[in-house]
Amino acid sequence: MIGDHDRLPPVLIGIVGYSPVIDAYPLGPTLMAALQSKVAGRDDVMVENMTWGPIHVVQRFQDEGAVRPRRVVLIGAAATSRVPGRVRGFRWTGGDLPAAAMQERIYEAVTGVVDIENTLVIGSHFKVWPDEIFSVEVDLPADTFGNMVIADSLARKGEGAATDHGFSPQAVITELAELAATFAIADGATTAEAKSAADCAKVESFTRNRIAVDA
């Protein structure tokens, strides 16, 4: 965030999304705690809740000047979901998009959309990322998310939630923390699947036009 002028350590893990404001579903703090536990004792690794839009993130890294981390690991929800609860890690290889597509993403970014692919793509466009950047993404379809919280509110945690939704939130957190820590501090990260701007889900315009045509 702007205002934080501390020098960054060599490795930064950032959770792209919001801190929670409800008590019933504290996955955010749980994930943060799990990550901090994984990197405990490592002064060279910092974990941050990056709860701001991509432009804020870009300006923060620009603000750091030459003292950027050598490696960044971003954690967030996948742009598309195929297998609920699946956690995947990627080595971000960057790349730019056509100008119109990039502008759509920036348009989203500055109107409040916080999104891991937007953060990656826009960061690459403004050249703020170090050579080593990874993403750890979890499939969380919108239509299952509410059900997860219902399960939580009904105290069907753990295995109960897994039964309801096909995956366990706690297992997801464990897997996210494990993979992010591996990328942050282990050499195995270089074997991660590559992902570039061209692989990102297409951004759609917020307008839909229906055209009247002759019958």
Binding site: I2, Y18, P20, L27, H56, A77, Q103, I150, E204, R208
Partner: protein, 626 residues
């Protein structure tokens, strides 16, 4: 008297009462789905069939605004429109039952862009409910923080969001005949911005590469840095609290803040000069642009920037301290100012949910406000947020946005409303930097690094449309700037007089029942937070945001929301297409973007089948795990 639709009248002292003899004063006629179905069928019969285009399968779930329109390309007309907030985020539900101290921090998350304005609005509501009057320096610092958010938001909008719609890249594609003229068209305000031709400006408006686009991104950074000097961090500051701010002020802080703000002296002149030139040029090219996003000038603004000598946080005195704000509260109906009283704004405010995914509520706890003025059952103090997810149906429910009305009219909100109301009202306290004339707003912008001091005047326009919204937004950069300077000078004076206190300590009473309202404004305009505190906890909390107002679905009686109506009035001037396959809809986009859409303000993620809610910026962000 300002009310024409609600049966409210005033006595000689200005106290409002319901007219006698009206049996159901707040009843209304609901337009039936069948009537709308017939209308749509008639449109289809007259225009052949309606064909969906560009409706790819959804590959990515993001964003929270969807806007659907039907267009007759041959006639150059828009036939139907629907504005949709696609997500529910339910801060109103989240805040229910919480400690009032949480409200500023939690409601700040209602927007990913402008969190500080929600924090402040929340603080104002709590201050009113609990009778907390901030110290003068706390009020002035809060004003300066607000200005920084506006100085971030308005340039971002006119150059990064709306700006590309007027750039060489876009105009060459959609209207090459206009680009051809722009190449040689001389500018009128080169002394303010340095460009000799309109074409040169349009080239620098190009997204991603244009100098003006990139400069705007840089200037938003300057505004945020100024904010951080006083507010500690941005976004989501934690220094704004009921009773003032928790900032530690030093001479160095004040100086560093000024050095940042000073960078806007020339930039504000440039913003104004650029957009005066661009919009005048487009009008000259094609008069049909007057219809782009055209609406009657019906708008409301709560005013902002409290005067430290008048603000006392009470509802009883809100008309007095409201009219002493550095921008004046007010209601404009079809270009005419009908009131500058905050109580009038509050009494006429209602929210409807007939076309939204919410249940109607039965409770009607507040028949009047604390002064005895009548309140509708649909007033925010009486509203209960009861989410009811459903399938999208244009004839019935289709949005997570509610429909706010004032005196049973939809209305606009925007940075421009701040100028419009202030210009007409002539109530701004004396300042060396700005003055209301009754038909314009004069700004005295100091000498900057390159440009001399200038007196600049924004005049209330004769038409109200997308171009005038954006033009006013450009002038708003200058207005925001000079209010900042006014308050910086006041802060320095207070510090010289030995003032150091920036917040009033208070305790939340464990027993008792009170209500409050924060009358404030986001960068995008009108913002209210209504709260009810019972025995130390928030019993109810209601937020009305500018995007809720502008993007609302139609009223129960069939009046379109501002987005919907403004697009209906838009003429299709786009010329470079052969059929639906290469039609870009640029005129529709210009109309919509002129409102500065900010859908996260409007939208919320809800938990299906319960009243549980979780914060999530959009469906793809890690709020899914947070």
């Amino acid at each position: 008297m300002c009310f024409e639709n609600l049966p409210i009248e005033f006595d000689a002292d200005g106290n409002a009462t319901l007219k006698e003899g009206v049996k159901n004063p707040y009843s209304y006629q609901v337009t039936t789905p069948e009537e709308r179905e017939l209308k749509l069928a008639d449109i289809a019969r007259k225009n052949g069939q309606l064909a969906d285009i560009d409706f790819d399968p959804v590959t990515r779930v993001a964003g929270a605004l969807a806007f659907h329109s039907s267009v007759d390309l041959k006639a150059g007309k828009v036939l139907t429109t629907n504005s949709v907030a696609t997500l529910f985020r339910g801060y109103e539900v989240i805040l229910r039952g919480r400690d009032p101290l949480d409200a500023a921090f939690i409601s700040s998350r209602a927007c990913g862009v402008c969190g500080g304005v929600h924090s402040t609005c929340s603080a104002l509501a709590i201050e009113m409910a609990l009778g907390i009057k901030p110290p003068p320096l706390g009020i002035v610092i809060r004003n300066m923080l607000l200005s920084c958010e506006y100085l971030y938001d308005n340039p971002m909008h006119i150059f990064v969001l709306s700006g590309p719609d007027y750039s060489e890249t876009l105009v060459k594609q959609t209207n090459p005949e206009i680009w051809d003229k722009a190449v040689t068209a001389p500018t009128k305000h080169s002394a303010m911005h340095g460009y000799a031709t309109i074409g040169a400006i349009m080239t620098d408006l190009n997204p991603l590469t244009g100098k003006l686009y990139l400069e705007a991104l840089q200037m938003t950074r300057v505004a945020r840095e100024a904010y951080v000097h006083l507010g500690g961090k941005y976004p989501h500051p934690e220094t704004i609290v009921p009773g003032g701010v928790t900032t530690t002020l030093t001479t160095s802080t004040m100086n560093e803040f000024y050095l940042k703000i000073q960078q806007f002296f020339d930039y504000a002149k440039k913003c104004i000069g650029i957009w005066d030139d661009v919009f005048d040029f487009f009008y000259d090219c094609d008069q049909r642009y007057e219809d782009c996003g055209r609406l009657p000038a019906t708008m409301i603004d709560n005013g902002q920037w409290d005067h430290e000598d008048y603000y006392d946080a009470t509802y009883a005195n809100c008309n007095a301290w409201g009219e002493k704000r550095w921008s004046t509260p007010g209601i404009v109906i079809e270009g005419k100012l009908v009131s500058t009283r905050l109580t009038d704004i509050n009494v006429g405010l209602e929210e409807f949910v007939e076309h939204s995914y919410y249940e109607k509520w039965d409770d009607y706890p507040f028949k009047t406000d604390p002064l005895g003025n009548p309140l509708s059952p649909n007033h925010p103090w009486n509203k209960t947020t009861i989410p009811r997810p459903d399938k999208q149906n244009w004839k019935d429910r289709y949005s997570w946005s509610t429909t706010p009305t004032w005196d049973r009219r939809t209305f606009e909100a925007g940075a421009y409303s701040r100028l419009y109301v202030s210009a007409l009202a002539q109530k701004i306290p004396h300042s060396h930097y700005f003055e209301s004339t009754g038909k314009s707003l004069k700004l005295n912008i100091p000498k900057g690094a390159s440009l001399p001091a200038m007196e600049i005047e924004w005049r209330v326009p004769t038409v109200w449309n997308a171009f005038e919204r954006n033009r006013a937004r450009a002038y708003a950069v200058g207005f925001n700037l000079m209010v900042t300077v006014e308050n910086w000078v006041r802060a320095q004076d207070l510090i010289k007089r030995g003032e150091t206190k920036v917040a009033t300590p208070f305790e939340i009473p464990k027993k008792g029942h009170s209500i409050g309202v924060g009358f404030w404004g986001a960068g995008r305009g009108f913002l209210t937070h209504h709260c009810e505190i019972k025995d130390g906890l928030l019993a109810n909390y209601q937020i009305v945001t500018p995007s809720t107002i502008n993007a609302c679905p139609r009223t129960p009686w069939g009046e379109l929301g501002p987005y919907e109506q403004s697009v209906m009035n838009t003429r299709i001037v786009e010329s470079n297409f052969t059929d639906e396959n290469d039609f870009q809809g640029i005129d529709i986009l210009r109309a919509l973007r002129s409102f500065d859409p900010c859908m996260p303000c409007t939208t919320h993620v809800m938990v299906e089948g319960s009243d549980r809610v979780i914060t999530r910026e959009v469906t793809t962000c890690a709020c899914g795990v947070a």
